[in-house]
Amino acid sequence: VIRVRSVALTAAMLFAWMTSAVSLAAENAAPVLLIHNATILTVSSGTIERGDILIKDGKIAAFGTEVKAPADAQVIDATGQFVMPGIIDCHSHIAIDGGVNEGSISVSSMVNIADVIDSDDIDIYRDLAGGVTTANILHGSANAIGGQTEVIKLRWGQPAEKLPFEGALPGIKFALGENPKRSNFRSDPPRYPATRMGVEETIRAAFTEARDYKKSWDDYNNRIAAGEKNVIAPRRDLKLDPLVEVMEGKRYVHAHCYREDEILMLLRVAKEFGFKVRTLQHVLEGYKVADEIAAAGTGASTFSDWWAYKVEAYDAIPYNAALMTKRGVIVSINSDDAAEATHLNQEAAKSIRYGGLTHDEALRMVTLNPAIQLGIDKRVGSIEVGKDADLAIYNHDPMSAYAVVQKTLIDGHVYFDREMDILGRPALAQERKDLSAKAKKEFEKKEEAAPKGGETPGSEKRLEEKPKPPQGDELIGGAR
């Protein structure tokens, strides 16, 4: 009897959770939540043992050991568990529909990841299961100046337009070295540039063009302001608009790079055109020029210990993140890969072993530091009153290899719940089985009923937008 009851209970719980997950889309006000009796890793103000976090309206309302919760607050019992700020992945290619690279041209700044956010990508959910709550969705690295990028919150189940991180400055992807010069990808005809010199020239030429373009708009606006009537506005150029925004400080540059020489090159070019490089991505030789990176006020987003997958990655060392941190660079550890994103906590932990960072310094590299790099640290990245309730709850210290995410919250909503996920699996498996069986039956019925042969010539492909398998070329989006 008890057994039956417990099944009924879990089914009811599951139903309640599923309906609440569905209601997320309706923008219901987040419930008042109390995470109770947890080890709280605030990142910005130390660790609190057996503490509570009160969440109201999707924000952290209070935390500590003496939190007073209203009677109607829903309680998440986190006894023995660890709460940390949701992980922020500064370099991700998940949730992109129809190709990660616009690889046809060396300057593809007209394309925008924001146009093709794929809210149905299962990797969003898998990232949530790894404690990730925010990701910087980047264009690939096939171009010296790549496409526009977008920071999203992993609000799984919501339509694409609800994913963007409100108020986060948009970015643009740059890339240096082997990928933009196409060393490893021959094409016919070959695409310019073919050398690192050419990459530099491509960036300089694009910004020279953008500077002229900006001048034409300034001239136009001045003439209009002066009362001139017979003036034709310049033609808007979607390729140059974002570069003007970069020069005006309204758009962040995230630059894929490896070698010290190209890092210094980009910092010089940026200085010449009066903009800042917000982050250097990968930056595996960053430890060689850490002082220069720190002096430029540029962030570094790197891998923990991933190297030698191509020539320009041969000089990488696992001490890179720690060495740059010690020289004053804001450093984050990123995934660049959907699978890697599910254990960024462990990736950060490696810098405790390699380079001797403290527990909190390591944690910062997947929370507060990427938040600073993306300009969203006022909202996320640490557990502070008033910040978004974007949290990851682990069963062990997240710096431990045994830590598994139990729940992931965004804006005070539970978007991932390991227990509910496991409970829901049999139902999903059954649904899959039923649908497959139904489809098979219909197919067989159709085969039987169909008169053999057709009487029209097969007509060709139509104007339809059917999902297409990714082209081989797109796969290099993840190329490091």
Binding site: E102, A439, G454, R462, L463, K466
Partner: protein, 555 residues
């Protein structure tokens, strides 16, 4: 060389090639009656309630009377309507039926190597919005007949290759010369977001295609303004450049043309809703198969939808081991419920053939959406009046009403009943009887399946073709025929006793033509006659043993 006069023989030949379910003109040109009266039939006007034992009078291409007490003109050809049902002709709301194969300008990933690579929006890749379907009608498209025989009297046909392939035209599926097919041109500007380029040509990604289309609209609006300013006072101003794309699209915007945007999944539909608002277009979404998730959003934006009748299903030769995502399985299961969801939400929608290549599959596909909750009335409306309304042609088409174009489908029962047959189709008041297949029905005396080498002498010299035939147990023949002219799919093929017959459509002298093969076979040899563009000549064929074919193929 084959001159124009000789080529006119094709019309006769097409008639001879009467295919399974083909239609044949009742009377030759000139002697056709101009008035018809269908007396005492059940009439489903779509615009009003169904009438029993009513009469429809058609004269000179127009419906002149509908009702119970209708005078039948003395000169009218009277059709006894007892047991028949009269519907408005069906409209295929997006297709390329009746158009020539794409010749130039198209992208679709098959850019020829000698063409320079497209390096940006200024190269206007896969963009030919000035092409007008009305100027590219191919009367020899065999689908004109087969679509008509399935009850479709009108197609909204558009060139199909490219991001901006060209302008769609409404075609009535009958006429004596190409231009006489045209009902309205242009009817719409279709846009695809299929990036043709890969890593060679811009755009090579979906985001590239979207950025490109965005830039084109910006350019179009800019040139409209710049040209107006320049025209007013050219002195001291830099001359706005002429651009064929901008010019054609500016004209379309001035006319407030329907712009067709692709959206099949909810992700795609939501995306194009956003883009349509950003670009301020008179947009209609095509695809629509995940409408069950987004119908209320479409309704809120008052955007009409063309629903693709090629419902998603597993590929026939799909890897049985490969795991299909649950989302895909759900999509396949629920897609046919989209029309019902659209109907419920109050979204205007029509159907289009999309990926359906066999017209007899179209109405069963509509039936699937009825089985999934759509009312039969709503389904019929989507096939007729709604399609006409979406394209601004409701005064001309879409219902059995006095004054409308006489496009009618006459059946022997409810059109969505599996057993019902289309008996007569009227297009522009011309009567086409739908014939049952007139194929002999003896069991085949052998299996024609296999690769056949056919040799023959044409007026242009000796030729050889390879016919890759597949015969099913009832004698139906399908397959392909390959020769130096190209590859043709075999249609209306059958075997009866030791006789066989099949037809292909293949380019001859630059335009697609029907070529008819018929004859007898004995074991691994066959002989017979080829008929094409007014000529006929003999051919012989042999089927090497399978092993020999394999060896040949390995060379």
């Amino acid at each position: 060389m084959i001159n124009v006069r000789q080529r006119s023989g094709i019309i006769a030949l097409v008639a001879v090639c009467a295919s399974v379910f083909s239609t044949v003109k009742l009377a030759g040109q000139g002697g056709e009656p101009r008035s018809f009266a269908i007396k005492g039939a059940k009439v489903v006007p779509v615009s009003g309630s169904t009438m029993d034992e009513a009469t429809v009078v058609v004269s000179r291409g127009i419906i002149v009377a509908v009702g119970k007490d209708v005078m039948v003109p003395v000169d009218a050809w009277v059709i006894e309507g007892k047991g028949l049902t009269v519907y408005p002709g069906f409209i295929d709301a997006l297709s390329d039926v009746g158009l020539a194969a794409p010749t130039s300008g198209g992208g679709e990933g098959n850019a020829k190597p000698q063409q320079p690579a497209s390096k940006g929006p200024e190269d206007r890749p896969a963009t030919t919005p000035w092409r007008n379907a009305a100027d590219e009608i191919n009367m020899n498209d065999p689908r004109i007949e087969t679509w008509r025989a399935a009850g479709f009297t009108t197609t909204i046909s558009a060139p199909k290759a490219g991001i901006f392939p060209g302008q769609a035209a409404a075609l009535n599926l009958a006429g004596d010369w190409p231009e006489s097919f045209v009902v309205k041109e242009p009817t719409a500007i279709p846009i695809s977001m299929q990036a043709p380029g890969g890593f060679r040509n811009y755009p090579g990604s979906l985001m590239g295609a979207i950025a490109y289309v965005r830039q084109v609209w910006i350019d179009t609006n800019w040139s409209t303004q710049a040209e107006a300013a320049y025209e007013k006072n050219p002195r001291g101003l830099e001359r706005p450049r002429y651009d064929r794309t901008e010019s054609a699209l500016a004209e379309a915007l001035r006319r407030h043309d329907v712009v067709l945007l692709p959206g099949n999944t909810s992700l795609q539909i939501r995306r194009v809703l956003k883009l349509a608002a950003e670009w301020k277009l008179n947009a209609v979404v095509y695809g629509g198969q995940m409408g069950y998730e987004v119908a209320p959003e479409l309704a809120a934006k008052k955007i009409a939808v063309l629903v693709d009748l090629k419902w998603p299903e597993a590929e026939k030769d799909a890897d049985p081991e490969a795991e299909t995502s649950l989302r895909t399985l759900r999509f396949r299961d629920r897609a046919p419920s989209s029309p019902a969801a659209l109907q419920k939400a109050g979204v205007k929608f029509a159907f289009y053939s999309g990926g359906v290549t066999t017209p007899k599959d179209l109405l069963p596909a509509v039936k699937k959406s009825i089985d999934a909750g759509l009312s039969a009335d709503a389904a019929l409306r989507a096939l007729t009046l709604s399609a006409a309304e979406i394209y601004g042609m409701a005064e001309m088409l879409g219902s059995v009403e006095k004054g409308k174009i006489a496009n009618l489908v006459v059946t022997d029962g409810d059109v969505f009943d599996k057993k019902t047959k289309v008996k007569i189709v009227f297009v522009d008041g011309r009567k086409f009887e739908v014939r049952e297949p007139q194929r002999p029905s003896e069991p085949p005396k052998g299996d024609l399946t296999g690769k056949w080498k056919l040799t023959y002498t044409t007026p242009q010299g000796d030729e050889e073709s390879t016919a890759d035939l597949l015969m099913s147990s009832d004698g139906t023949l399908t397959g392909t025929l390959i020769n130096h002219r190209g590859t043709g799919n075999i249609f209306s093929g059958y075997v009866s006793g030791d006789k066989f017959s099949f037809t292909i459509n293949i380019p001859i002298e630059g335009s697609p033509q029907d070529v008819h093969f018929s004859g007898t076979f004995d074991g691994n040899t066959m002989k017979g006659t080829i008929g094409a563009i007014g000529y006929s000549f003999d051919f012989t064929g042999t089927k090497p043993k399978t092993a020999a074919v394999m060896a040949g193929g390995a060379k």
